[in-house]
């Protein structure tokens, strides 16, 4: 019933941050590349034009830029003993839909994971021994080191025009930067953004406490910047509509601003929107992918043959398509065998909100990633002996733009409605800021992704089932980190504080972060990973799976910078190794 199309060299499933870079680079080598995107075409002009783009209800409450759950969602449960039920509306995390993917509405924070993050397991065992982590913990090394990835981090930061300040330039610690970061070969392409009032107060306080504050690296460009593809990213104007929104200025780096202007001009590239891939088809002995099947906006089914298939959609969809297509052995938590769906992890964010009587922060101004942070309590930058947990996170005072439907904190004890509530909101909307912690999250045997036995998507295919909860390691870490943040808050001197460590069961309802990781993890051992160090499927050599799904566990940073580096890691392997000699690279 599917119409067979004429073969092409490369298909990318998903046209977001990773898919656009890979398509651009491979099309430039002369290969015919087709990008297949389930959502619609979107561009700064006219889709993100003023004034409609400053509409909090449409973009934050109604999630205009995000996944259409009426077509496909996931089911969720905290533990294997629960029954998973569908996520009927978005909340905890916000996958994108449409050209550019989640990189259209992302916050812009662009970090490099610490060298330690890539070797969590071996370094933890070496420093603390096996007792530091629970038996159920399935943390592992990535099979690739920071050193190997450094040039790729660099490449991505220069492509997206990241604004920041180096803290470790070729081994030399630079004042004002992050002294804990891995050695970098180059300074950031753009200087840091301006400093908001809350950041300034945070900076003063932490310096007094002996910490080393630095501006958060972000892809909200501090000045107009032309990248290697000749695309110009504009200067941020601090409008405060950044995360959850598309940037009307073209100042937040994204596929639309950094890559597509050049990619869409390439005669070797074809984009197909409103086309949803439902299956990757394999040859008889299941060693090679021969084509993908997709359904277009008229409900027609097509089969697109290709030599190289790049799975470049969101974490959840990457895992689901592998399960639906029978690629790789599905993970079985009971026997802890199998790989696809393994090591699903998330993030453990928490916060301390500071209220003031006499200070005004104009909280509505800001930019994604506008903030000052400290990294003393991230990764293994501090001694975990006796703390009963591993990992950590960065602590920052961020000014990402507060809008009153979503962000209107009131001091603890204020009623949820009525006159008192109204007074508090009126008083504190511009007289508060939050110190936030981006906590890491380890992987565990019981946290995984598989196919749901009951619920199906609009195409009649089983939904992806998420079984996840945080463990003692994360709770302890969050409480400990949040107390550190509270100390900082005290030093700043607010009149009141709300201290919110991440405790209790993980819930899918309130927004936390779109930092889902794992399910298609990378590694050196096919028995515990889905893809090798080049993000190539162990089982199907002409399939590369790219994204945060490759993270064996999640670090204390936003994932995008590392996803960008992995993209170039895979790209280099494809260009220099695979295309010359197709086959297993490891």
């Amino acid at each position: 019933m599917a119409t067979k199309l004429k073969p092409v060299d490369v298909v990318t499933i998903g046209v977001g941050l990773t898919g656009t870079i890979l398509a651009k680079e491979l099309a430039d080598t002369g290969l015919k590349v087709v990008g297949i995107e389930r959502g619609r075409w979107r561009d700064t002009d006219p889709d993100f034009a003023m004034p409609g783009v400053h509409d909090e209800l449409k973009y934050v409450r109604d999630k205009e830029l995000m996944q259409d759950l009426s077509k496909e969602t996931i089911t969720f449960r905290n533990a294997m003993s629960d029954t998973a039920l569908p996520m009927r509306q978005l909340g905890s995390f916000l996958p994108g839909e449409g050209v550019g993917g989640a990189a259209v509405h992302w916050g812009g924070l662009t970090w490099r994971f610490l060298p330690w993050d890539f070797e969590t397991k071996s370094q933890t065992l070496a420093r603390y021994g096996a007792n530091q982590v629970s038996d159920e913990c399935t943390m592992q090394d990535w099979g690739v080191t920071y050193k190997e990835l450094e040039p790729h981090f660099n490449r991505f930061e220069y492509l997206y025009g990241v604004s920041g300040k180096a803290g470790n330039l070729q081994g030399k610690i630079i004042p004002g930067g992050n002294p804990f970061e891995g050695v970098r070969s180059q300074e950031y392409p753009n200087p840091p953004l301006k400093t908001a009032y809350s950041s300034a107060m945070f900076k003063q306080a932490v310096e007094k406490m002996g910490y080393k504050p630095f501006p958060v690296p972000t892809a909200a460009n501090s000045r107009a910047y032309k990248n290697e593809y000749g695309a110009t990213i504009q200067a941020c104007v601090y409008c405060g509509y950044c995360q959850f929104f598309a940037c009307e200025m073209g100042a937040k780096a994204s596929p639309q601003t950094a890559v597509l202007p050049a990619l869409m001009k390439s005669p070797n590239y074809e984009l197909r929107t409103l086309c949803n891939v439902v299956k990757i088809n394999l040859d008889s002995d299941k060693k090679r992918a021969v084509s993908v099947t997709y359904v277009d906006s008229r409900g027609r089914e097509f089969e697109q043959p290709a030599d190289l298939i790049l799975l470049t959609s969101y974490v959840l969809n990457n895992t689901r398509l592998m399960l639906l297509s029978g690629i790789g052995k599905p993970y079985d938590p009971a026997s802890n065998t199998g790989v696809v769906g393994r090591n699903y992890a998330y993030q453990t964010p928490s916060s301390v909100t500071c209220f003031f009587e006499d200070k005004n922060f104009n909280s509505f101004m800001g930019a994604g990633g506008l903030g000052v942070a400290i990294d003393e309590f991230n990764g293994d930058n501090f001694d975990h002996s006796g703390l009963g947990f591993i990992g950590g996170g960065f602590i920052q005072a961020g000014s990402n733009g507060a809008r009153p439907i979503e962000i209107r904190p009131v001091p603890q004890g204020t009623p949820r409605w009525g006159g008192e509530w109204k007074k508090a909101v009126s008083k504190y909307f511009n007289r508060n800021f939050s110190i936030t912690i981006q906590g890491a999250c380890q992987s565990y045997r019981g946290n995984y992704l598989d196919l749901d036995p009951t619920y199906r998507d609009a195409y009649g295919l089983p939904l992806l089932r998420m079984t996840f909860d945080r463990r003692e390691n994360e709770t302890k870490m969050s409480v400990w980190l949040t107390n550190k943040a509270a100390e900082i808050a005290k030093a700043i001197g607010p009149s009141k504080m709300n201290v919110n460590p991440r405790t209790g069961k993980y819930t899918i309802v309130p927004y936390q972060s779109t930092h889902n990781t794992g399910g298609t993890v990378m590694g050196a051992d096919p028995a515990t990973s889905v893809v090798n160090k080049y993000l190539q499927s162990w089982d199907v050599h002409n399939l590369f799976v790219v994204g945060a799904g490759n993270f064996p566990q999640n670090g204390g940073y936003n994932p995008t910078g590392t996803v960008g580096a992995l993209t170039y890691q895979a790209l280099e392997a494809i260009k220099t190794k695979y295309l010359k000699k197709p086959g297993a690279l490891v």
Binding site: A49, M50, P51, G52, H54, D55, E56, L57, R61, D62, L69, S70, F76, R77, N78, D82, T83, L85, P86, M87, R88, Q89, K194, A196, Y197, A200, C236, V237, Y238, C239, G240, E248, M249, K359, N360, F361, N362, F364, M365, R403, P404, I405, R408, R416, W417, G418, G419, K422, K423, V425, S426, F429, N430, T454, R456, K505, Y506, T507, I508, V509
Partner: protein
């Protein structure tokens, strides 16, 4: 339906008619003296603006219920208008008529067991249907307990009922009371703070309350003016599409800055701010 019944019907409708005009209009459209014509013009515009927006989903009875309920959730007080005055009832009407009320782009297939709190929304009803059922059930409860519908109760009784729903102490027949109440509360807050294009936040009451300027200007020159309140006339999307507000070359509004008494600064002072 008997004659007497239909007359009741008529009386009811008549009683509810006022409610069927978005809050405020009735008050606003009083004929004014010829004298201050500009004020009157503005008044006309406001009046018509409101009255030109008929309800598309809610019945008159439901409008009466919501006007009463939201006036407790965000009351009118010395700080300014409450949810009712800000047109939140009309906002909710538009939302329920729209994709939100019908669960567009959300997953709606069954089965629908109650699930755990961590699993979120698990109802076979769309928000529109939740309101329809929740309002009816709450009115039924009020009839049983006070022999009046909610909108006809005293403020104190209304408060009691809302707290009962909030605390889950009142059991509703067709929807969980807290499920209904939380939806109502969330939508009320949304309607109070959403861009006025959606029919709520009338006269930007919500934005003025908290000091939020709405559609953003270029803040580059201001972001480092620490601890200086940014006092501007809030700008709605409609102000720009309707060409009431000026915009810069990229379409950002040029905010009209206000002095401490909330009056526009002189044009020189305006320039000074950006």
């Amino acid at each position: 339906m008997s004659e007497s019944r239909s007359r009741r019907n008529f009386l009811k409708s008549a009683a509810a008619l006022g409610a069927a005009v978005p809050a405020g209009v009735a008050a606003q459209s009083k004929p004014a003296p010829h004298a201050d014509h500009d004020k009157q013009h503005a008044q006309h515009m406001r009046a018509a603006a409101a009255s030109a927006r008929p309800y598309m989903f809610l019945s008159q009875a439901e409008v009466a219920f919501l006007d009463a309920a939201v006036s407790h959730l965000i009351p009118k007080d010395e700080l300014g208008p409450g949810a009712k005055e800000a047109g939140v009832t009309y906002f909710i009407d538009q939302q329920l008529f729209g994709g939100y009320g019908t669960m567009a782009k959300k997953y709606t297939q069954g089965p629908w067991p109650e699930g755990t709190p961590q699993q979120g929304y698990q109802s076979p009803l769309t928000p529109a249907a939740v309101y329809r059922a929740g309002i009816r059930d709450t009115n039924e409860y009020c009839k049983k307990t006070y022999s009046k519908t909610f909108d006809a109760l005293t403020r104190a009784q209304q408060d009691e009922v809302l707290k009962g729903l909030d605390g889950g102490k009142i059991e509703l027949e067709q929807v969980r009371s807290q499920f209904f109440f939380n939806m109502l509360l969330n939508n009320t807050v949304e309607g109070f703070f959403a861009d006025p294009v959606y029919g709520g936040n009338r006269d930007k009451a919500g934005w003025k309350l908290v000091g939020f300027p709405g559609v953003a200007a270029v803040y580059t020159p201001f972001i480092e003016k620490h601890n200086v309140p940014y006092k501007a006339q809030p700008v709605s999307i409609a102000d720009i599409t309707g060409k009431v507000a000026q915009v810069d070359e990229h379409g950002h509004p040029i905010h009209v800055m206000l002095d401490d008494n909330g009056h526009p600064l002189s044009s020189r002072a305006q320039r000074g701010t950006s």
